[in-house]
Amino acid sequence: MPDRPLELSRYCIPYTPFTGKLEEAKICLVTTASVRGKDQPPFQIDGDTSFRTLDGALPASAFTFDDDHYDHACVDRDLNCVFPVDRLAELAENRQIGGVSEKHFSMGFSQALRELREKTIPALVREVDRVRPDAVLLTGG
């Protein structure tokens, strides 16, 4: 794999066809809602270009978030509002999807777009690629 940063969708739509069946697909979550495991280091609320790798076997109750940039009325009561890990587990149990990725990923709030584009996103994408999900669901805050 080339070591240079991956380009985002400035010039084209990054479309990858989905092959296979949803009922057999392993789904990975990637969120920008500053979600982390309760035992992981907090995100810096004013700006943080790091990301957290989240254990895909854990329920939403194992996670928290560090943010003051979106409305928390929902997530204070139910983290599935931005990080639907419990719903994914239920869909897998009902065989509506094939399974849940062993890892999910979360970024924090940041306006350092260049660093995100040149460092954070390429590193995150490499981690997602190692997990080899059949599809990724992206959610914001």
Binding site: I13, L22, V82, R87, V128
Partner: protein, 71 residues
């Protein structure tokens, strides 16, 4: 690296369209922090989630955010 299919759930369709997502769903009327609808409403959350995931197997509408009503 081989591409991985993605689908986005967004409550800011105008902002998201600027990034030209390959597949995107907007549950209309919900604000930021409510991408999956309402707290402790697993049926609604699963409907939105499944609608988003179904975009993976539906004909592509590249760069568009599909807006649907749930309320």
């Amino acid at each position: 690296m081989i591409g991985i299919p993605t689908v986005l759930i967004t409550v800011e369709p105008e902002e998201s369209e600027q990034a030209r997502p390959p597949r995107a769903l907007c549950p209309n009327g919900f604000i930021v922090g409510h991408s999956l609808g309402r707290p402790n409403d697993p049926n609604l959350q699963k409907r939105i989630l499944m609608d988003a995931l179904h975009l993976l197997v539906e004909p592509p509408q590249l760069g568009q955010v599909i807006i649907r009503e749930y309320q």
